[in-house]
Symmetry: C2
Subunit: 670 residues, 2 copies
């Protein structure tokens, strides 16, 4: 079996190459180039298939060939970047490698997921229940904007936050184990959109209301919209040591019943401030059961809406000074106080704005008007000057509206339906064009920049791009290199899979003079809205296994229910039965459990293995239970044995050659 | 913007190329080859990056380059094959393109999925409830073996079936819209594994019990295992016109309390028969609370277990003749009757068998012994001859065990831990080796074949391969070309994502003299057990949109609740409120709904669009509702308005530039 040896050599070679990757070109790789440049026959593999033969047979163009070579990541080689993507209405987060565009994991956040055991173990159910509404534990969500934790304006690879627009909730994911640890429900607003965006040191997680409603999830007649409906900007305090949002140190700023869209935190010179665009200043709430036009018409009347500008550092001081009001258990700064304290400002923005993105240097804020072909760039310095100069008039709610011309730095005409802007490491900006189905590249201007505020080129997208992402493109130091367009319509891009189509992520190489489309990635799990792309090397704290056998993965601490081999037992206290169970290849202990009908069962299950990838699963027929017990984890599930029967339970993760035999019998006597 | 035009040309060109794909090499592609063979500088793209520069910079080996080119599928070009993969403990089915290995869709089957609205609309909840256990609707499952419907032994692209091992259920997916239409629970057995495997014209879906238990989900003391625990082989009748399993025409054959593993249907000369391997003939049930060893030891004592051989055509006649017994509402042929009628036989199989695969010509059955380094090949003709010659002795349950030597055609030594076998179009077979972490290729023998029953070569896998799949490799006419190894351990293959790792699908080119590894695909959604790979061209019945506006997607017929534009209305009958709603870019009608606290609401929602990809979503805050309404679909959801408040509902699928404005207000008065 000579081929086997050859292939094994190949695997080891890969490991070597990975080690040498930092050097860029290895001796081997140079060898490749030499052989391919040589005249005559090109033999690129032991298969005797040459590059041109394959390209010909498969109809690949020259651009396809470079795209293939720029995106292929061989077995055992790791991707250079990871993207964390919202999973849209799936309620989850997707983790994808770049440039391979391979889906590495779906992280359950707002919807139960049996593979991960999320929502099936007691502790993960409790995480979901943290976001309950009026006693109902929700099992879906509409995730929009993932936010990686930052230190000094750069991703630090520690935590990920994600919003649920539908129910105004935030999920917190620990990037040591890629699991959701907390869900909080916003007590003030019922619908969010401008979240999650973090401040430069993750002091706060910004969460802006979308559709106005009476605060605190209350009822008010629709005709009282102007008076009783409100927006809010919530600042969730993040306790990094605890790995939790600290609701008791969080607060909101009351806003008029405009609808807030996307937000971004200031940095550098604009540190301490945040920016959000705000539309529907028309106060449309649709027909309201009468003759008024629907929102799509009603909210598109005015030529200008607003950029909302908030000094969050000042707001925190105002809360500390006791000038906020307690609303539904959390402080809120009333609009009047916010205005009085000079921490809340509006700046006019052209028509139905979308996207508010701060340049890496913190000097400018870029806003798109989705019904306007321009991006509008505001200067933070000019905004401060306009405030100092008193260049403002109050709006109907008394919020000072700064003079547009005084704050505006530039406008760049890009195309139809501009939405979102990201930045690279070369001083360039990229803006998605929803209606034109493309991405415009333009040059950021400012002091000392020649030819700034100018469109460079455009690449078409397939089709209708929403958000875009440049690697680390919303940090203080973008990485550039790759751009991803998140396209809302896929149409003919992929093999048909029925009337519900995947979305289409398109990977673009932005290193060259022209942008090159590299890869179409179908997303057949929800509609991802936004992603953040982080250099792999920043994710240095990921655990291969849990720190010790018997680990409470929610509290990231030793579990009080940890069970070692030999400690397995079944304890009965009346009808309450507690089982301490272990898993190890290929045995579940105990492998026999006898219950009486009506027993209340609590099962503590410990995976006593600490070998990498030695995960075990656990299922109990008819009880709607599936758990994932990663190496070292202790988890708990409770149920009532309400039906007599014979229940074979087993390991659901193919762990070993005798995995099918890794089972036990639970009997419930009549 | 010259680049735009260029890129647009590229898109059109792609469309042309797709049209010409049947011809193999297009003029353009030949051009590529010529340019790359020419001496001097190779300029493969407008980016001025040459193949060798990219390969050098990215450290790609010659094999990597060919692998990249063999797997890259450019934007707008469709994959040649689709695979339908079990989603393991995720409870779902994954649809993946080959050779690109891109995940095109996750189809919800046994677990709710909000993006698809599965389990959230009334009708999809009813589908889940079809598999309820003792009144509990289950929201998880352990899918193992997808089975595509067949006509004359070849996939016909119409339906897909998938089992839930944990609760002995079967899901039925319609491949016109890739949605789950039915879930049935096996009334006889509590745990299945040998399903779903279809007979050559999808007459029946085979579903074999895994862990023995008293029939009909009953209780019996573990010490009565030999007498009261039983296995069964269930034959689910499929009604192709109705697109449903017809439970009233289905039946089981009673089996001893051995554990059945994998099954396959006979074809050609063996049409009308089926084969399943059977282990734990030791009758181990683990410790049973006493001193007996766990199953991993107890079930591995004997040198021989059994291949179970059933004449299902005869069994159907026996049921029709009234010789079956009604057990929990479905007929079962008692073992004694099965033996008497000559429809049930055992053939000895070496040690802990796994996998039972019928050769494409239907002449042989290949079985692996997972604790034996061989595959054992049985001749169907020899089995029939042994039956005719009376070469058998009864086992402890009276089932005739045929003579091993009389039935055995050949044994091939392959390596450690052989599990599953598939076939290609060249007369070769492929067997996964779990312990050796590889796939062995060997030659099928038989009449007129030289050098048959012989190992050819092996390719290592990363790591621990379970099932494998060759394109159409379990049909009467395998397509060959690609093989996929489903590896259970990924270890270092991908960028770390925490202690719970993805699985690793490895795509292998089997067209050459040596097998070539092409691609590693991480599966971060459950642990897929088995896949089937079908030529794309067989999936010709897929709908782009539903046939008409107002479509009931479960019954695939016009819905009685279809609502056209202008017919939207709110009807009240006491506290019962019925809403007829429509969606169209970018309006939801009605956009205002007023309810009283306590109202019982039924919402019928019709997407009045028939444009490809014009799906709308719908969510209602705090009510745990997310629906997907594909073009033409009518769907229904009910809830109780039990909390006063102001609820902005909206479209959750980014459908248009004014998608954010596609909303309405529902008010519940206190």
């Amino acid at each position: 079996m000579g081929t086997v040896v050859k292939s094994k050599e190949r695997v080891s070679r890969r490991t070597m190459m990975k080690g040498a990757a930092g050097a860029g070109a290895t001796g081997l790789a140079v060898g490749v180039g030499t052989r391919m440049n040589g005249g005559g026959e090109v033999k690129a593999s032991a298969l005797q298939s040459s590059v041109e033969e394959i390209a010909e047979a498969r109809g690949l163009t020259p651009d396809d060939i470079t795209a293939a070579l720029k995106t292929y990541v061989p077995s055992g080689v790791h991707d250079d970047f990871l993207i964390f993507s919202s999973g849209g209405q799936s309620g989850q987060v997707l983790v994808i490698g770049v440039p391979s565009m391979r889906l590495l994991k779906v992280i359950a956040v707002f919807a139960p997921e049996p593979w991960q055991g999320f929502g099936f173990s007691n502790d993960t159910w409790d995480v979901l229940a943290g976001g309950e509404v009026d006693g109902k534990v929700l099992t879906c969500g509409d995730t929009h904007h993932p936010g990686l934790s930052e230190t000094e304006g750069q991703y630090d690879g520690q935590f990920l936050f994600i919003n649920d627009k539908a129910n105004a909730r935030i999920g917190v994911i620990d990037l040591r184990d890629f699991e959701t640890k907390q869900i909080v429900k916003n007590p003030h607003i019922i619908s969010n959109h401008g979240g999650t965006f973090v401040t430069p040191n993750t002091e706060y997680i910004i969460d802006g209301s979308q559709y106005a409603a009476p605060h605190a999830w209350q009822y008010a007649p629709i005709e009282n919209y102007a008076d009783e409906y409100r927006g809010a900007m919530t600042f969730w305090k993040f306790d990094r040591d605890a790995g939790r949002i600290a609701q008791d140190q969080s607060f909101s700023v009351e806003l008029p019943p405009y609808w807030n869209d996307l937000a971004d935190a200031g940095k550098g010179p604009s540190m301490g401030w945040m920016f959000s665009n705000t539309f529907n200043t028309e106060l449309s709430y649709g027909s309201g059961g009468g003759d008024a036009p629907p929102v799509e018409v009603g909210a598109s009347q005015r030529d200008m809406d607003y950029l909302t500008v908030i000094n969050w550092e000042k707001a925190a001081e105002v809360v500390a000074a006791g000038r906020a009001e307690e609303v539904n258990g959390m402080p809120m700064i009333p609009m009047g106080v916010a205005v009085e304290e000079g921490l809340l400002w509006f700046v006019p923005e052209p028509k139905s704005p979308h996207g508010a993105d701060v340049t890496p240097d913190g000097k400018y804020i870029v806003v798109s008007g989705k019904l306007d072909p321009h991006v509008t760039i505001y200067s933070f310095e000019k905004i401060q000057q306009a405030i100092a100069d008193g260049k403002y008039e109050p709006d109907a709610y008394g919020v000072p509206v700064l003079d547009f011309e005084a704050c505006m730095e530039a406008q760049v005409e890009l195309g139809l339906g501009p939405l979102h802007t990201q930045f690279d490491d070369q001083g360039l900006a990229y803006t998605s064009l929803f209606l034109d189905s493309g991405i415009a590249r333009w040059k950021v201007g400012g002091e000392g920049v020649d030819d700034g505020w100018k469109l460079i080129d455009m690449i078409p997208m397939q089709f209708n791009t929403g958000h875009i992402c440049v690697a680390e493109g919303d940090t203080v130091s973008p990485a550039g290199q790759y751009l991803i367009g998140m396209n809302k319509w896929a149409l003919d891009r992929f093999h048909p899979v029925g009337p519900l189509l995947p979305q289409n992520f398109q990977l673009v190489d932005i290193t060259g003079d022209q942008m090159q489309l590299l890869y179409d990635m179908p997303i057949g799990i929800g509609e991802p809205h936004y992603v953040q792309m982080i250099k792999s090397e920043r994710l240095e704290n990921i655990w291969e296994v849990y720190p010790e056998v018997g680990w409470d993965t929610i509290n990231q601490a030793p579990s009080e229910f940890a069970t070692q081999i030999g400690q397995e037992r079944i304890e009965r206290d009346g009808e309450n039965v507690t089982i301490y169970m272990t898993t190890i290849r290929s045995t579940i202990r105990p492998d026999y459990i006898e219950l009486q009908k009506g027993d209340k069962v609590t099962l503590h299950l410990t995976n006593v293995e600490l070998a990498h990838d030695a995960t075990h699963g656990f299922t109990m027929p008819g009880q709607d239970i599936n758990l994932s017990i990663e190496p070292g984890e202790t988890t708990t599930v409770s149920w009532v044995a309400d039906t007599a029967g014979t229940y074979p339970y087993y390991c659901t993760e193919f762990c070993s050659a005798l995995h099918l035999e890794m089972m036990g019998y639970l009997l419930v006597t009549p």
